[in-house]
């Protein structure tokens, strides 16, 4: 069997259920692939791993991948299992925030580490300065969890629909105590988890063939996970080496993730790509130059065309 290493963007959780299901159900094996899945974490830049040769294919957000491409690391999107984005900003109503107009004077928690581009694009669109002060917002580099909201250190925090939002509810805050802004609905949505490879490797027909089989099996895994969320959650739990995840939370996550993958057969929708690029370009500033010009050849349908045939 051909071996393929997949580097995830984050730790083992239902966000990546499709791959784990494909592994567990033998979809990869059926395609003649021996797949290794490397979990990620807060300190892992998948782009760096693939540049160092530690992975063949990575899961990444498009903004980060395009930024890396401009930095000289030619990543190419070969598939896009996530149709929608799950990134949201959620605020406590009691802080007086009801719409983006109320942001000035408040403190917002933002994820950095390559995840900050949508936020800056949005603020640029709203015309709100991010240096604090009464007319601007104070930005905090948010850690990995939702404590800043619960401890009232921030008025709004970044959440993923499928993870942190659930944690906020879990902690005992009810949805009606929250105001939530979805980046997609605010018009600054960006494509999230896609599959990326190094451009030059695509010239190798053998590698290309491996990727075709990989994407085919992965999508099969995703569709199976959508249909059997509880089983998928259990598979994720079984693959979590840290033993710290709870089944309940992964079931919740699987259900939410299924909503995001639902619209995708794996092929990237060029219109979504255009929207992401335009949003990114709208937010170009000296401090946050995700990209400064339109990227060329950052995606391909070659793989999905063959895989979905």
């Amino acid at each position: 069997a051909d071996s393929v290493t997949l580097q995830l963007k984050w730790v083992t959780q239902a966000q990546f259920a499709g791959y784990y299901v494909a592994l567990d159900k033998g979809f990869y094996k059926d395609e003649g692939l021996d797949v290794t899945i490397k979990p990620g974490g807060p300190d892992i830049a998948p782009e760096q791993v693939i540049a160092g040769g530690g992975a063949d294919v990575i899961v990444d957000w498009m903004a980060a991948a395009l930024a890396a491409r401009e930095k000289g690391l030619p990543l190419v999107n070969i598939a896009q299992p996530f149709k929608h984005g799950g990134l949201e900003l959620t605020c406590l109503k009691e802080t007086g925030i009801n719409s983006p107009k109320d942001f000035p004077g408040h403190t917002l928690g933002v994820w950095f580490y390559g995840n900050e581009y949508p936020f800056y694009a949005w603020m640029a669109k709203l015309g709100i300065p991010t240096e604090g002060g009464p007319d601007g917002v104070t930005v905090l580099k948010q850690g990995f969890n939702v404590d800043p909201l619960l401890q009232k250190q921030a008025d709004c925090i970044s959440v993923m629909t499928y993870n942190e939002y659930g944690q906020v509810l879990d902690a005992g805050i009810t949805p009606d105590q929250l105001v939530t802004f979805n980046y997609l609905k605010e018009g600054v949505g960006m494509l999230e988890d896609g599959l990326y490879v190094m451009q030059d490797k695509l010239k190798d027909p053998k590698f290309k063939d491996e990727m075709v089989r990989f994407v085919r099996a992965s999508m099969k895994g995703w569709k199976y996970a959508e249909a059997h969320p509880d089983e998928a959650a259990q598979i994720v739990i079984d693959n979590d080496a840290s033993g710290a995840q709870t089944l309940d939370h992964q079931k919740y996550m699987m259900k939410e993730v299924a909503k995001l993958t639902a619209g995708s057969n794996g092929a990237l929708d060029p219109a979504d790509y255009e929207e992401t690029v335009n949003t990114l370009l709208s937010a170009v500033s000296k401090e946050n130059p995700a990209i400064t010009k339109k990227p060329e050849g950052a995606w391909t349908h070659e793989i999905t065309d063959l895989a979905l045939k």
């Binding site: 300190d43 160092g52 390559g114 930005v139």
Partner: protein
């Protein structure tokens, strides 16, 4: 290939030069004392440059020293802001508070063997708590700004200084203590005139270890939440953006600041413990 050769030659040449310098009659002068490590550092940089260029290491994995130097030159204001936030506000204040508290605690528990026997094992236990575990908790408790970083630093430096000070306060030899006993000196007099001076070499050991801990602590704490400035913030953010040159620029600043901090404490040590055999060159 050329670059690899340059690396090798640089290494051999630098080392040969240092061997000669350190055995020359001028070896004890201050200038040579500074020159030798500088040459060593320069050779290291040359080797690094040679390897990166020679092996075509991609920039997103490891930038060459020249790339880093260019970046430092271009980002001075940012580096300065980050330095103020992390070093001055976070590390320095935490260092002063932590070392001060540890010193006072050591003197306070010094009178009570009971407290010493009870506190020191637990102190060692607490000191073994990994900061990566403590930092998120302290960020949760003390907020995102420098206060939580200072708190992490306090937690990190407290026990090394405490343990060293307690050890130092017990470092007097029998005859020195007996002398005080024949004067029937009070506890306070013995402390001020014998035990504190005798403890200084140990205290400074703790203070020196604490300098490196303080900087690391302040930077690492920023990984777990921070305002949008600071050396740790910049490092973690720029890694995500693959601006490895900026990451190394910050690391350079950290290493310079840390070494200078260490050097200053070592200089104070030299002035205070001039009498200790390790500071005297009698040979």
């Amino acid at each position: 290939m050329i670059w690899l050769l340059v690396a090798l030659v640089a290494w051999l040449g630098g080392w040969a030069l240092n061997v000669r310098l350190s055995h020359s009659p001028a070896a004890n002068t201050r200038a040579v004392g500074l020159l030798v490590p500088t040459i060593f550092g320069l050779t290291l940089l040359l080797v690094w440059q040679g390897l990166v260029r020679g092996l075509n290491v991609p920039m997103v994995i490891l930038p060459a020293p020249t790339d880093i130097a260019v970046k430092i030159g271009a980002s001075l204001p940012t580096l300065w802001t980050d330095f103020l936030q992390t070093f001055v506000k976070g590390a320095l204040s935490g260092y002063v508070i932590g070392c001060g508290a540890a010193f006072v605690t050591a003197v306070l528990i010094d009178r009570s063997p009971f407290l010493q026997r009870g506190l020191l094992p637990i102190g060692n236990f607490v000191a073994a708590l990994p900061i990566v575990g403590i930092a998120p908790i302290l960020v949760m408790w003390f907020g995102f700004d420098w206060q939580s970083k200072a708190a992490v630093v306090v937690a990190m430096v407290f026990f090394p200084v405490l343990v060293n000070t307690v050890e130092g306060l017990n470092a007097t030899d029998k005859m020195q203590r007996d002398l005080m006993a024949t004067y029937s000196a009070s506890y306070g007099q013995t402390l001020a005139k014998l035990r504190l001076p005798a403890a200084m070499p140990f205290v400074f050991n703790g203070l020196k270890i604490a300098t490196t801990l303080a900087l690391i602590g302040a930077i690492v704490a920023e990984f777990f939440g921070s305002p949008i400035k600071g050396m740790g913030f910049r490092i973690s953010t720029e890694v995500g953006r693959l601006s490895l040159d900026m990451v190394w620029a910050e690391i350079t600043v950290a290493a310079l600041a840390g070494s200078a901090f260490y050097g200053i404490v070592a200089m104070i040590e030299k002035a205070v413990t001039f009498w200790h055999p390790s500071q005297r060159s009698r040979a």
